[in-house]
């Protein structure tokens, strides 16, 4: 995206994230739903339950790429992409667009994506533990 386009960008944030009661175990305002991401671009500014942009605080390509991949695996999703709008700001933007006949909203899609990554981590973690034991037995 060119500089001129970026300067046109108007980001209106809704800070609906409640302060967690569990004693700061999770960051507040970690994730936000963006409204009117780009008012000059009709397609990308489409915001409803099935076309959303999220802003995640303090995350980078470590999460962004694997999340994008996982969300694209969802058959309801037409498009998923992420960007880090500015390298010196700690934000990751995630865009999800579902098909018109989608059975899930963007939030459900993202929820499922995150859950799937956690499951994948569990599987890989278990496999690693098994592999360590197997290697030890062979030694």
């Amino acid at each position: 995206m060119s500089d001129i386009e970026e300067s046109k960008m108007e980001v209106e944030e809704t800070s609906l994230t409640p302060t967690p009661i569990n004693n700061g175990a999770y960051d507040t305002n970690k994730i936000k739903l963006l409204k009117n991401v780009n008012i000059y671009d009709e397609i990308n500014s489409k915001i409803d339950d099935y076309n959303c942009s999220f802003q995640i605080l303090d995350e980078d390509h470590t999460l962004g790429n694997v999340l994008r991949y996982m969300i694209m695996k969802n058959e309801n999703v037409e498009f998923a992409g992420y960007s880090i709008p500015h390298p010196s700001e700690p934000y990751l933007h995630l865009r999800i667009q579902c098909y018109e006949d989608s059975t899930e909203t963007c939030i459900q899609v993202l929820h499922k994506g995150l859950a799937n990554i956690m499951d994948m981590c569990d599987v890989v973690g278990d496999k690693f533990a098994d592999a360590v034991n197997k290697f030890r037995d062979e030694e």
Partner: protein, 350 residues
Amino acid sequence: MSSSLNSHLIKKVLDPEIKFKEATSEYVDFTLSNVDLSLANSLRRVMISEIPTLAIDSVEVEKNTTVLADEFLAHRLGLIPLESYDIDKLRYNRECTCDNYCNRCSVTLILNVIATEDSSKSVYSRDLTIVQNDHIKNLKLGNPAVSNDVPEGILICKLRKGQELTVKCIAKKGISKEHAKWDSAAAIEFEYDPWNKLNHTDYWYETDAKVEWPIGKNHRDEIEPNEDDKFDYQAEPTVFYIGVESAKSLPANQIVIRGIDMLRQKVDGIYQELENMDRGLDLEEDLNNNINNGLGMDIGYQDENLGEEGDAYGMPNFAEQDIGYNEASNNNDDYGEANFSDDDEGDAAW
């Protein structure tokens, strides 16, 4: 529409697989198969920069008559790897309730050396002694990490006869995203597609890349392609050759285990926050519906009161409180007009 578009792309899904080639406490080498490049790369990135370890973070210099400057020594001390196996038992200093530092968020090490002999005296990381307390008793935490072949550890500085070095070091928990001294891995090897069948790599060459580039240690694990093979544009990387060399603060296999765990924790944090956000959105919707039914003023008013009361009783209803303020700041038409007269009265009273 959606499923029919993607159906031809769905391949048989294989379970992730891990096979070890080599494993010592300092180095593990394994292949990770049947996962996507994005997950393997996330794991690599986490292992490089987000595994918490312990490192000296501030140094109180009591006496330094060596030839090295205080800050020079402080920097050297910071880079010494400290045993961090039980780092989970320690808090981050910024998250601790103490004023400066305490036993729950730091480990103190003392270095006290005087050279009395004519020959020069070497100060090694082994000379750092940990200040014991109840919190770190019996924990694998804070001792300078040494390898078997170099039992004295890292050379910090050398003293001439009569020179003295007395410092108090405060070691804190951190991750290498903040500073490389918290790095748990000295090196991470990461390779896929050694024959470059996917053309992800563009080799530089003088005359012939094939002749000039050496065969790596992972090449023989995969079949060498023929010259006249067609390029498979649908192929994806499936096998990843990963090697982890420990920097001694953690055993090499722990770096991988913790890497996977940290990645999971990261995702879990967002998962929880997303649930909170979603709950907030639902409440906002209910509130909007109520406003449209003519109840807006009452609810807005109640919410403001709830916020204060909630704080006082220590049982805040955060979601509602947030929305209450949000509605007010958004200057919702119904709400704003309905409260206009009230606001004026309020100002007059002030």
